[in-house]
Subunit: 553 residues, 2 copies
Amino acid sequence: MPEQPELTIQGWGPAGPSTTTETDDGLSSALPKAARRYLSKELGWSPRSTPPVAVADISLAPSRLPDEARARFVELLGEENVRTDRESRLRRAGGKSYLDLLRRREGDASDAPDAVVLPGTTEETAALLTACSELGVVVVPFGGGTSVVGGLAGVDPDDRPAVALDLGRMSSVQSLDIPSSLVTVGPGMRGPALEEELSRDGLTFGHLPQSWEFATLGGYAATRSAGQNSTGVGRFDELVTGLTLATPSGVLELGHPPATAAGPDLLGLALGSEGTLGVITELTLRVRPKPTSCSYEGWSFRSWPAGLAALQHLARHDLLPDIVRLSDQDETRANLLMASGTGARALRGTLKTRGHGDGCLLVLGWEGLPTLVRARMKAAASLLRDGGAIRLGRRVGESWKSHRFSAPYLRDKLMDAGLLVETLETAATWSKLPTVYDAVRRALRESLTRDGRRPLIMSHVSHGYPTGASLYVTVLADRDDDLPIQQWLTAKRAATDALLAAGGTLTHHHAVGADHRPWMEREVGPLGVEVLRAVKERLDPQGICNPGVLLPE
Amino acid sequence: MPEQPELTIQGWGPAGPSTTTETDDGLSSALPKAARRYLSKELGWSPRSTPPVAVADISLAPSRLPDEARARFVELLGEENVRTDRESRLRRAGGKSYLDLLRRREGDASDAPDAVVLPGTTEETAALLTACSELGVVVVPFGGGTSVVGGLAGVDPDDRPAVALDLGRMSSVQSLDIPSSLVTVGPGMRGPALEEELSRDGLTFGHLPQSWEFATLGGYAATRSAGQNSTGVGRFDELVTGLTLATPSGVLELGHPPATAAGPDLLGLALGSEGTLGVITELTLRVRPKPTSCSYEGWSFRSWPAGLAALQHLARHDLLPDIVRLSDQDETRANLLMASGTGARALRGTLKTRGHGDGCLLVLGWEGLPTLVRARMKAAASLLRDGGAIRLGRRVGESWKSHRFSAPYLRDKLMDAGLLVETLETAATWSKLPTVYDAVRRALRESLTRDGRRPLIMSHVSHGYPTGASLYVTVLADRDDDLPIQQWLTAKRAATDALLAAGGTLTHHHAVGADHRPWMEREVGPLGVEVLRAVKERLDPQGICNPGVLLPE
């Protein structure tokens, strides 16, 4: 099994000997000059050096774990699996949202757990949860620590001591059923390790979110993740066929592949439960043969509405590719500026000549059996051309593919240079999507414009469905260094209110966490919240399971 | 909107002026002589006339609906929508399982409701549920009345009066969102009416279970139905994107197309809830363009294991067709005997000559864009031939298609002639399917063999998935006219114990109802049952919603 590197404490990427971000000329190496100039002009921002505090200067309160609890945990798990050292606690403090990074960069680790516990089995996890329930210790499950919605906030209304329940010891393949295309894995396993094991049998799992290098399979399940290939491969929740959930009230074994009509879908209740009902300790997932043909290609539309209309057309005829990614004009412009070299210059020239100088790039990825890929591509190409698209060829597609995991690395550089950098996402039906798009942009623009500075709002459709699509929005703005958290919270609130009012969903693939919980009642209604509460009270009567997330206060 | 005919009281088919089944020479017109002879020999059975009692002779206890309740219902719904007449009550008594028909044919309607109420809106339904909760009146939602698992049993541990809540007044299209491929409908609507409305816009819904002529869309949702095309089109639960559930505690609006990560899937909790949490009063469903190419074809395998292996091969390469139906040797033999004419004779000859005289028929259906259908068929054909299959051409496929809704009609004739006729179904992973198949057959054979008589057990795979398939079993046997109910209950118990022990699911598409509830705890575990109970207690604290089904006593 490949090593699973830990994330650096104050940003993104594998933790190295020094965890301080390199700020000297970080931005010039990361962004071409034209892109830096464009950003400065668009945002009314001048690059400045705003490095994080040294990791050694991050302040961490002493552990509040009672001796009795510690003794009980050691009895259950052994000394080496109960940790209260500074490094262990710091590494499990919060997630990787912009707000998380702001706090960590400022030296604040007030959300760090009082201890880290590492059970090795379902039984140990269940025993631990029972113990924590009796002792009044809050449990925050910790997978990869990549949440961008405050999923690891651990905020307890009763302010009880909290432990991070690290799933790193349960991170291997348990069994592989090749005829049934099913693999059973521990929740702490990550995508790269799983893909490596599967590839020995010519198989793949194919879930590729941006957090792929660090996020865990259990985390994907707990948050209903979607990967970049999910248009074709399916969302993570569609790939889970079975799941074990250890709760303070016992262990649930859920799911029955391939399908069942035996009552309501309890598996669907565990997926997306974000640690509030218990801890996922095992997963059974659908795998598939490695595609024998993979083809990535770029297309261009003259406008965003034309691009959306063409995708909608593909969608209703079941011709969506495995990967679909339509950038709006602002994102297309930025992406073209980011690309350097003669190829990029030629592309910009071509687009301008053909009247697409201010157009929208579409990246499509096709995977599967060569004959079917060819037939699908041909049928789709005809619809796309009918919709006014021009084909840009494979280079654009391959270029996107080679940068598919790079955005969070770039974020650190941009934050070092004084920028607000955050994303949000939603989904809506094809009918409502244009309104949602307009509403979110307007809200963000109004909230983040002041004193001659304004945000750059870049959007793309990242997942297509027959009935609608997701919308992913990246925001850049000059950071308010006095009140950076307040600046984003205000913008996020405005954007969320706007997207919900326009008919978007609260989150398409980032989950609810602490950040979205104020809107959860609007999303599922007061009675929907009550149903979730009833389930939680049955499984977690003392409310120790990840109390700060999902359910509104 | 086309008329929605009611079902005959004692069997299958539209109610006519006389509801007595015609028994004279019914069997000879329904079954070719060779098939009758084969059945007699296989089963050790001689056709005899065992007609149902006259409808007028069915005994029905007086309505126990309290005057206070009646008055309250009339106030809410109007006089014409509160019915206690004999005909209304009889027509809503139970469903259409073999056990239901046995009872009705013997003149027993002890499971009839005390009244029938017909709300016209979500609001009226919610008000009615609140009233029933206060008054202690049990509510059994009634769609098409086609349950084959005792879903309408209405057995209340407290023996309170019961009403059938008929959804017939909520049976029209509410709205159609063509760009988003979504239609919103009332739960009382049936497939034929929906298809007729959609066809005006070149659209189809495509859910085609055997009960298609009579079952309702709300019923499909409440039971997690699967249709004959579900391998391609998707199970019913996959086609629901939104749902309104009126409960005694208020109204839930669930679902968020196209997808969401905002917490656990509450929509999946309402699907399959079988009326135990409330009443589905509105549904939003995914529709699609009518396929421009439809191709049905027959194939043959030398053996059942060879057929299963080939399907599994198609499944893992995402090459399953839209309709897949692999009959085992016993079902194939019976189907070939049922078919008459020179074409059928020629087919039997061909199969014999090619060494498939005792083989397994496979029917495949392909739908969609012509170029894609061709590409998929070609790729699949190559895998099928590698698996030893021979292609029989379109006639076999078309023949299956033309008889796709006929089995329940035939059942009446067979019952008239003294036969036990029942079906059961399950699903399992590809790895476990052969064991489940053997176990079910053995259990049924052992239970139904006595005194030189033995059952005919015919099975087919009716739905394919990447990870496994469903198994549908039809049983014929000489009926024990002294204890017919006991005879089937004993066989069903043995078969269900066996399939669960072998790794099958309790039900793939018939739901739990009253018949499967004794095994529900084995299916989802004691804690799973407790979770369902917690949800029910929150939404239906007085336990008035369809108390006799789903949850174990």
